[in-house]
């Protein structure tokens, strides 16, 4: 082969190779006309949406076939469209939690649930069989720490009528707990938060309840010194009211010169019993229309006044 023939072939090849040799220069800049069409155009109307968004994901305009617009419109314009819209990406979306997806999840989770016992269908029955209520609070929030110091607080609530207490024990317990007892609802509330862990606070709360219960059944020697000011409710026997009534009646009988009637007979009489009931009602329940009228009637009968 002659050298001039070689040169001719080489120049031919050189001409052919040149258009493909762009690798040493920067690549062709990407332009959207060359990009593939968005996935939305290939989506069927009855597709399974939970496979497009199976988990929480940010908004992808090419995957969501909805003409959503969001943002503040420019003057005499419309809100910006979904392509490249940061507002749509910022906001949390619920595209992974459509009703069919929720139903699917719940159907899978249903096996792990247990039924509530059918016998406990009302609050009263729950109260009757399970008197103690323990209240705890859990906190979920985003932050650097998942712990919340308020989560260790435990509140115990129990109705005193469900505990095995006699009269003296109940009164002593109410005096021991003070403000933690509510008169109207008969509920004792114990709130514990002195321990660092919830389990410890719960144990401490149960320990407090046990100690209160047992201490209230004890009778100390100094409890016999309980005076009238310490009494929770008004007791008519051995009170000033009883003494006054008996005194008055005895004097009335003495002035009428009736044979000596004993105190026991007077106490057992109907008028004195009426008077006793009306005074007790007034003192314990407060002054109401019916109470005051009942007191008036009983006094009239006692002193034999016909008004």
């Amino acid at each position: 082969m002659s050298s001039c023939g070689n040169w001719f072939l080489k120049s031919l090849f050189d001409v052919l190779i040149l258009p493909c040799g762009r690798s040493h220069i920067s690549p062709v800049p990407f332009s959207l006309d060359q990009a593939a069409p968005p996935r939305t155009e290939r989506m069927a109307v009855d597709q399974d949406w939970s496979s497009v968004y199976p988990t929480a994901a940010s908004f992808k305009p090419a995957s969501v076939p909805l003409p959503i617009r969001m943002g503040y419109p420019v003057k005499r314009g419309v809100p910006p469209s979904k392509e490249g819209n940061l507002e749509l990406i910022k906001i949390p979306n619920f595209l992974h939690l459509t009703p069919p997806a929720i139903k699917k999840h719940c159907a899978a989770l249903k096996d792990f649930c247990t039924e509530w016992p059918s016998a406990l269908d009302s609050d009263e029955k729950c109260e009757q069989h399970f008197p103690i209520e323990v209240e705890t609070v859990d906190y979920v929030s985003s932050g650097t720490s998942i712990r919340n110091p308020k989560a260790r607080v435990v509140t115990l609530r129990v109705k005193l009528s469900n505990l095995n207490l006699d009269d003296h024990a109940k009164k002593k317990l109410i005096k021991l707990v003070g403000e933690r007892y509510c008169q109207e609802t008969d509920v004792l509330t114990i709130t514990t938060d002195r321990c660092p862990l919830r389990r410890q606070n719960y144990d401490y709360g149960m320990h407090l309840l046990t100690v209160l219960y047992h201490e209230s059944w004890k009778t100390e020697k100094w409890e016999s010194e309980k005076s009238e000011e310490d009494m929770e409710e008004y007791i008519w026997e051995n009170s000033q009211s009883q003494k006054n009534a008996l005194d008055t009646l005895l004097r009335i009988k003495a002035s009428e010169n009736v044979s000596n009637v004993t105190k026991e007979e007077l106490l057992a009489s109907e008028v004195v019993k009426n008077y006793r009931n009306s005074v007790i009602a007034l003192k314990n329940e407060g002054e109401t229309e019916s109470n005051i009228s009942q007191y008036k009637e009983s006094v009239k009968k006692l002193l034999n006044i016909q008004a």
């Binding site: 619920f94 159907a107 039924e115 323990v134 024990a169």
Partner: protein
């Protein structure tokens, strides 16, 4: 047949990592009015199993009477003997800065509760609170020029009634995993319990009488 193997110990995962085998306790409450309280022998999953389950399996394979109405057991479900704790009320308070997000979350939570068979007592929407503060606009001086910021917190309270501990665990995990970004939740659980043994009767009756010793002064 070899010696019965104890059931394989499940790895203890932290609560936010979720569980592959959700425990499902059998509730052993006996009440006066409850009829048909025989325990349901759900077969323990995770292979191996204790003696009881292997004999049951043997019984099934031998062709003895099998309950035909027994539904297909989920291999992930494991039943344990401990009695369930009962929750009288579950109060979920959700707080967020965006009302639309909370509305969507409410729809999701209510639908999830209905699908799982949990009774929703009520859905309350307390009014929003706005925390405002006024700061100086400039770094140095210019006291008359201020800038004001505010933080709006919207609330949504969901109250559920009568849940067992398994159901509550399942529902709460599902609902908490799907909590949106920037939304906080507080769950108030009210558990009901029987009066424990040591509070049934005062202990002084059972203790032996201790003679009071005179303090010699």
């Amino acid at each position: 047949m070899g010696a019965p193997r104890s059931p394989p110990r499940r790895r203890a995962l932290p609560p936010w990592r979720g569980r592959t085998c959700g425990p499902r306790s059998r509730f052993s409450f006996r009440a006066a009015g409850r009829a048909g309280a025989e325990p349901r022998w759900r077969r323990a999953g995770c292979g191996g199993g204790s003696v009881r389950s292997s004999t049951l399996m043997g019984a099934r394979l031998a062709g003895s009477h099998v309950e035909t109405q027994e539904p297909k057991t989920n291999p992930l479900v494991s039943v344990s003997d401990e009695p369930e704790t009962l929750y009288k009320r579950l109060s979920i308070l959700v707080k967020g800065h965006d009302k639309a997000v909370l509305d969507s979350y409410e729809y999701f939570a209510v639908l999830a509760a209905k699908e799982l068979g949990i009774s929703v007592e009520k859905v309350d929407k307390p009014p929003k609170t706005i925390e405002r503060f006024t700061l100086l606009k400039s770094v140095h001086i210019y006291k008359k020029h201020r800038v004001q910021y505010e933080m709006r917190t919207h609330y949504m309270c969901l109250e559920l009634k009568y849940l067992t501990s398994s159901t509550a665990a399942v529902y709460l995990e599902y609902v908490q995993r799907n909590l949106p970004e920037g939304v906080a939740m507080e769950v108030k659980k009210t558990k009901i319990e029987k009066i424990p043994e040591h509070i049934q009767k005062p202990v002084w009756d059972t203790l032996p009488q201790v003679e009071e010793t005179e303090v010699k002064s």
